[in-house]
Amino acid sequence: MKEKLVMVGNGMAGVRAIEELLKVAPEQYDITIFGSEPYANYNRILLSPVLTGEMALEDIMLNDVDWYKDNGIDLHLNKKVVDIDRRGREVIDEDGQRIPYDRLLIATGSNPFIIPVPGHELEGVIAYRDIADVNYMLDSAKKYKNAVVIGGGLLGLEAANGLKERGMQVTIVHLLDTLMERQLDKASGALLQRSLQDRGLNFLMGVQTESIIGDERVEGVRFADGSEIEADIVVMAVGIRPNIELAQKVGIHCERGIIVNDTMQTYDPRIYAVGECLQHRGATYGLVAPLFEQAKVCANHLAQLGHARYEGSTTSTKLKVTGIDLFSAGDFTGDESTEDIVFQDPTAGVYKKVVLKENKILGAVLYGDTVDGAWYFDLMRNGTDVSDFRESLLFGQAHIGDAGHGETNAAAALPDSAEICGCNGVVKGDIVNAIREKGLFTLDDVRAHTKASSSCGSCTGLVEQILASVVGDYSETPKKKAMCQCTDFTHDEVRKAIVENELKTIPDVMAKMAWKTANGCASCRPALNYYLICAWPGEWDDYQSRFINERAHANIQKDGTYSVVPRIWGGVTNPAELRAIADVADKYNIPTVKITGGQRIDLLGVKKEDLPKVWGDLSRAGFVSGHAYAKGLRTVKTCVGKEWCRFGTQDSTTMGIDLEKMTWGAWAPHKIKLAVSGCPRNCAEATIKDFGVVAVDSGWELHVGGNGGIKVRATDFLCKVVTEAEVLEYCAAFLQLYREEAHYLERTAPWIERVGLSRVKELVVDDEAGRKALAQRFLASQRHMQDDPWKQRAEGACKNEFEPLTAIA
């Protein structure tokens, strides 16, 4: 017999918990839900667009009555639960009916706080909390003229804006001098107030409500200074309080909210709580993202999986008043120990402030241009040291090398035909439709369904803005980023465990770290394989965990054929090599021969079963693999240097060849490109390479962390050295540090931005012993990497990879 789960409350957090539960354990419980409103589950965040008329009621329904029916849930709408018999494990509804439970979930949400001033019970004084309130306001707007909203916070401003849109004269009364003082500082609050005034809203700031006047129905509001204004309707939006009435009545421990532990259980372990009604580690929550996180943890525990814990959330805020872009997160007021970086352009209506403490972001307020909100939020929750780019911090992510989203920074104003994701060709309309039709909530949902922001990620800020404009604010809450869905551990934690516990195989790692899947997935397997190759060179390599390009040692093309790029050391070749390449192209009918950007020759369209023969011919002509397919060393681009060039200061070609001989074959978290220029004119474009060398008359300048990819990024200057031997040593040390510390599929550019150039300099430049040790480890690993994989396969290794199993005529 199935266990009985009863839920009191039918709001977003609770129903989300049920949805999560049905996903992981659909058959475990008979579920009964009580809701005090006459509606099924709707998106409370979107009441404001309903009030303004931008959306209809049916647009904001999340689960209709049929959903409950389809999932076998016994739904009691318009019915309050008035008591719980904890000993007998029964809930008692307002009709006296008793419903037994094995587990009980309290999701009673919150109640609006009504200031108990005289007159607060008059007809026409309402809160702003549910559909009934919205209907009341819509009705009032048809009959009356003057509205007063008490409370200049998020909710109050949205209510005021809605009533104004519905044709009422609206005055906002706020106790303090700054609107939304919990989310905004003085300057941004003033900007907001000005633009709302421009839209026709009136403000009374710094005034205290003394009473509400009227006989039966509200007629006006009187303030502490004796002044009065007329009012036909008064909306109280001064805050919410966790609804703990029921829990308190039955003796469940409550403070401000119902106290729960990290698995969302109250002091009665059979009784859980999620949502606005609870208090966790001293904090209560009112925004959706943390509530959804709680729902997931609760479902996980109800399903007896027991591996998820809720550890609290940091939240960010966006205002849902169309045309006003506003973002805030964290501590944006600061104190004596913090610093503010501020950008203000009153004419353009843009204000940005980031609060730093010891070069880490504590909080941010953005007004008018919020596209970088997600980025600051990310830097904040990761505790990233921003000292290396603090001078350009306020210009946004675009200015630290990102050429991704260009000038676009206000998604809400874009037409449906505007291309948001350039990688996958997704326009705004596609995203909006998917969000509406498929009921998407999170960035990950949108990525999965539309592919927008799922490739290079430079449009993430825009996608989040679109998401916020369609369904409200569901920004991710800060948590450590798991490697993939197979584990809760981060890349760093996994790498650390591999080294510390001497884990030497993928099954070992998965067993030790309690992987949730039997074989991992296409995302974590290649990452684990690389981490093991890096930690234990020569001891481990799992062929079936390599991405196809590294398994086949060639680049898969869109038609399933492969490309072959032989290594041309430093880009220097000769007639014999060129003839050999030409002969191969002829012999195997290779359709396209192309010069690459890395000074090599690409043979495109080779059939897989021809690869070993092509490699055999190339190998006999003296070529080795160019690793153009590898997460590893690709090319070393050079200019002709002082041997030919009248400006050349050093022999850049030989330097490049020496570097390539040292580094070829190295596997890395991502591809690595090198270049050596013979003078500061930099014809080899060394300053957009992972490791770039620029010759000067007195030696060599070393540059790191550049690339010409999705986010064009010029290198950072590492240091200057004098001899060729030093160039090699610094290069080996730098690459080894990158190999040991970067996350799989993280190029040197984002890696340096994450860990900071200062740290790289400290370990590679300042610490001589450390540098030499790094370089030694690189060279030791290289001893296992420089067997040419093409030659081995041409000689018959890994035959199964290239031959069909059989052929049926």
């Binding site: 991992g520 991405f547 399933g560 023969k613 031959e803 059989t806 052929a807 049926i808």
Partner: protein, 117 residues
Amino acid sequence: MSLLEIGKLEDIPKLGSRVVRTAQGDIAVFRNSDDEVFALLDICPHKAGPLSQGIVCEHTVTCPLHNWNIDMRSGAACAPDEGKTTAYEVTSKAGVLFLKLPDGAEKVSKPTQTVGS
């Protein structure tokens, strides 16, 4: 329907796949870590990528071109992606694999290509 011998289980690497050439196109034959064997038309429903070249985990294979996950039992794309490639029945008897094919592809021949010259 015809039942065709296509090779031995041990010829396919664990968590890997091999291709069977047929008149109707390539068929990818997969083996998972529990030695279950599956066969799919070697064409991803998304953009026709060769599924045989993908990474195999439990009951899914990930297409190497754009990371769609395909259920090897049914050939269907895993949610939220939508699409389906043809799945074929394949059985193993004493380590020998047999592929069940619709009629019109009976004759089995040796691989036409050999490697290692």
